[in-house]
Homo-oligomer: 319 residues x 2
């Protein structure tokens, strides 16, 4: 049997792919070259997950790969009607980002509770100003997004004494449905967004939503930028409808130097880094290699995305 062709969207993926030598004909392409090379690919590895190239190239002419894997948790940048309607299997990088993102969210919440930004600012001005701080213990968090990342956030927060409510697409045993979100958010000290970008979540966090949060509450987004109406969040912070917010994801990434978000009061802006801990590219490479070996052997793949819903259901089929 001849080697399958593995097309990689990006120029410099993890060295771990070298392990596939002799089992894959590996070809690299940038976004501009994707449309021309897509027909020859048996498998497409979307290493540059911030690119819109797949959504742009997919509707073109010719055969399409049987399997597409993205080195990310979210799949919103890939999906187009033609990919959704096709027989192509789409998988994501579930298992890599959960713990890092959960630690990052915990870091932000503790930084807010202890006013670390205020401490660092006072330090720069050489001012000793004792303040009373808040606690995570006995506070209430609503985590929107009940997939593996949302669940891991809950798992880290609960031993810290945070009372966590998970909100997902549909109510189930330990998960609230969207119909409970307003009621829960109105009582919460923290609203954490770890939701995928879908038509159900786009623009979910808007002026109406921030208006029903408590003035002492804080909002954190580690999901996808367009889930938040950024202007509404900036307004809510300026008017002190809520006490603080942190955004790690944005409508436009990277955030340009002229964005008004950089200096909104009580807003922490970070460069989409919550899941990216030292060694993450190697772990993504290792994960793909293991999945490729399953695929070669004809075994079922894990992390299969429900293309119509726009995320990998958890638990997946047979898990």
């Amino acid at each position: 049997m001849s080697e399958p062709t593995l097309l990689v969207l990006d120029t410099a993926p993890s060295p771990r792919l070298g392990r596939l030598t002799g089992r894959a004909r590996i070809r690299y392409t940038d976004g501009a070259g994707l449309a021309a090379r897509l027909p020859e690919a048996d498998v497409l590895l979307v290493w540059d997950f911030a690119s819109d190239a797949v959504r742009a190239a997919w509707p073109g002419e010719g055969p399409r790969p049987a399997w597409v894997h993205t080195a990310s948790a979210g799949v919103d940048r890939l999906l187009c009607p033609e990919l959704i309607a096709s027989d192509t299997v789409l998988t994501n990088a579930r298992g890599i980002f959960e713990r890092p993102v959960a630690e990052y969210v915990t870091a932000l919440m503790l930084a807010f509770a202890k006013d670390l930004p205020g401490t660092l600012d006072l330090q720069q001005r050489r001012q000793w100003r004792h303040r009373e701080s808040g606690t995570l213990a006995n506070s209430r968090a609503v985590v929107v997004g009940a997939g593996p990342i949302g669940r891991e956030i809950a798992r880290l927060l609960m031993p810290l004494g945070v009372k966590v409510a998970l909100v997902g697409r549909t109510a189930r045993r330990t998960v609230h449905g969207p119909e409970d979100l307003d009621r829960l958010a109105a009582l919460a000290d923290w609203v954490i967004c770890a939701a995928p970008l879908t038509e159900a979540t786009r623009g979910l966090f808007d002026a109406r939503f921030f208006g029903l949060m408590q003035p002492s509450a804080r909002f954190v987004n580690v999901g996808r930028g367009p889930v938040v109406v950024e202007e509404d969040l900036a307004d809510a912070l300026r008017k002190r409808w809520i006490a603080g917010a942190a955004l790690d994801v944005f409508e436009q990434e990277p955030l340009g130097p002229t964005s008004p978000l950089w200096d909104v009061p009580d807003l922490i802006v970070s460069p989409h880094m919550s899941g990216d801990t030292v060694g993450w590219r190697d772990r993504l490479g290792e994960q793909f290699v293991a999945m490729y070996e399953l695929w070669l052997a004809g075994s079922p793949l894990p992390n299969v995305v429900d293309k119509r819903r726009g995320y990998a259901p958890f638990p997946g089929p047979g898990e």
Copy 2:
């Protein structure tokens, strides 16, 4: 029976003391007036725990209170040979500060791991610069001080996947003795000081100690300032012997505006606030009121300090 005289060192303690109306003749004094009023006191409540007035006034003439309570965990500022040798019972505020301090330490560790200071600095400069961050999961921490605060730090860190070694004054079942400190510190990603200030801990963290830590490791002090040789720590940071440090306590408090510590690289300076969460003064007042009621009833007091060791042993007698 006439009311006992309760002398309070400070001018504005918790309103909760009002509950003792009719059961205590409450008198207030500042540090300057303490020596003159000490002989009339049955009980001394050290509300201004940052004052050295007790140590200064105690050796004077006249009777001394049977019981001294301090609204703090550490007792180093009170102890003098005459108080140690006396029959006076000394108690501390064990139970109030453990969880807040443990949350604060966790906040600092996560802020270092995720480079939150770097993120806030880049935000001020409107720069989007993605970085890979560290994790708490599977890192190693040595917590020096195996009292209630050190144990609570360990209790919060362990569910985050941190491997914690506790070091106390003497080796016991789950605690290492001081003889293990160097070996543990050389392998650690984090060294956390939650130790009382005693003759055994004064100057414990010096150039020799920082020299044996890993260059990637960080040091946090939430115990007492003089446990650290501040110049040596500043030097170790400037020479990159270690990757970062946070001090919440100092040899001199408040830290003056001319202190060189404010701008040591990779050092976070905070104003002795780790244990002071909203409502802490009320909780300290409630704790004292409950203890005063035990004392009035002739019941044994909790939180009794071993004056010769310089801290309240945990667990205490009969606990």
